[in-house]
Symmetry: C2
Subunit: 296 residues, 2 copies
């Protein structure tokens, strides 16, 4: 059975390999590392890339933290008994904002959690936020995720795809953040070996999938109008992350390292009052595709 | 005793007079009005100014809504009995984002709430968010607020100034949004006449105070570096409004008119990873003054 140390080491190696793959693909930007220590136990390696040739701003963050079980989990289980126990949480979190509006924003998180009472689980997800939805890319992206899922359980993809549609959703806009992907949490119904292997599969799929999407789109030309639209889409990304994202909320409420948490926000974003794209525009088409339940 | 109709009419006239004063001062921008209707009862007049000579984006919104008492208030009072009652809420909300980083952002809200069980209260506040803190302006701003408060009760200013320091605060940054101002809520310990008069005093102080600040600063020169700093400060403004502001949260959670609620967000904002101004810079000085309890 994989130990927390083995899982932790694997997440570190995943961070390394993803950073390398993204640097190679970008061709200019390099990740700068900030090591940080958590007062209550553990810490992390925040790695930020800024002003690359393709990537404008991105973070590939590893962390492993531990300590007393936080009160929000005690409440979750309605049990005072958890106060006696400690927790250990480790994972990798990624958000990449490209320069070009023709290149999609991507997010991934893979994580492992355990408590000293023996309870453990895995969680994670990947989702894609194109500024302009490209059907072929959307199909490719979802096909990659389905392929990984199907290796483990053909029930995974439909279930985790729906979970992503529901999670990466902005209720006050009644629109999804992007074209979704997969999302899963508190997986512990199969063996730890098998679930760790699945999470490794998801983590390992990130770099080749996103590098392919970068490759396909990074040299496309775009207009100032496309750039403006990108800024508006980024505004929605900010709205999702600050208002709804559980990882962000948890980080802000538990005195996490702010700059590591908010690396997910773009370099620039824009809010125009009541911006409505003209019908038949590409922007309008993209908006019409930001909904749950589409089969890519 | 002022009726809800009289209070509502006065808020409408306040919206009118503030819009006129800001248009005159700006010299180019004009407010565009969107009337909206709330399905459950009432509606509003959203007035937005964009691309003025001095004001980049701003909203001066009036609303008057009514209906069944919302569940969040029922919980607040821990009483099932409120379900039988209806509420009426009216007010004016303002946020102005200037083009120049030398001109401060301003926010004001004045509001009245009543329920059919006879419970009523006033609330409101004004706070100033300079991109660069100017001590003379900060003193002027607070002196104006103190002058209004002192006309009614010399206990108001210190109490409401502290309330503003506590409310307009970004815990995850450990900094105040700006230099504060005054904030008050659920005022009903004095007569309705007197409290309405106080709220009228606060509302009426807005235009002359902000016009004076616009006048003092609108023609100052600034650099690209100043502009970048403005974008970063605006990012913090977005963080406060989306993560902490009660009006915004309430609006998002109760299916309010999104574009009216989010008019408070700036046209553009920026997040740079771990941006730390160099010591002895004006930016550093401003950061050092974003804390509670300063006596302007």
């Amino acid at each position: 059975m994989p130990t927390k140390e083995e899982i932790t080491e694997w997440f570190k190696s995943l961070q390394d390999s993803i950073c390398t793959a993204l640097e190679v693909e970008d061709g200019k930007g390099v990740f700068v590392e900030d090591n940080w220590v958590r007062e209550e136990g553990g810490g992390g390696r925040t790695r930020i890339i800024q002003n690359g040739k393709v990537i404008e701003k991105g973070g590939v963050n590893f962390s492993a933290v531990y300590g007393d079980v936080p009160s929000f989990l005690q409440n979750d289980h309605g049990s005072e008994e958890l106060k006696k126990h400690t927790f250990y949480a480790t994972g990798v979190s990624i958000v990449i904002h490209p320069i070009s509006p023709m290149v999609p924003i991507i997010h991934m998180n893979v994580r492992y959690f355990e408590m000293s009472n023996g309870v453990w689980w895995f969680g994670g997800g990947i989702d894609l936020t194109p500024h302009y939805v490209n059907d072929i890319d959307a199909h490719f992206f979802h096909a990659q995720l389905k392929k990984i899922c199907d290796l483990y359980d053909i029930a995974y993809y439909p279930e985790y795809k729906k979970w992503a549609d529901d999670y990466f959703f902005i209720p006050h806009r009644n629109e999804t953040r992007g074209i979704g992907g997969i999302f899963f949490d508190r997986l512990n119904k199969k063996s730890k070996e098998e679930l760790f292997s699945f999470v490794q599969g998801v983590g390992s799929a990130f770099a080749p999938t996103y590098v392919e999407l970068l490759n396909r789109n990074k040299n496309k030309t775009y207009t100032e109008e496309n750039k403006q639209w990108q800024l508006i889409r980024r505004g929605r990304y900010v709205e999702f992350n600050l208002v709804y994202d559980k990882g962000t909320k948890f980080g802000l409420e538990t005195n996490g390292r702010i700059e590591s948490i908010l690396m997910s926000l773009p370099l620039n974003a824009s809010w125009q009052y009541n911006h409505i794209p003209s019908s038949n525009s590409e922007e309008f088409r993209t908006l019409s595709l930001l909904k749950k339940g589409l089969n890519w």
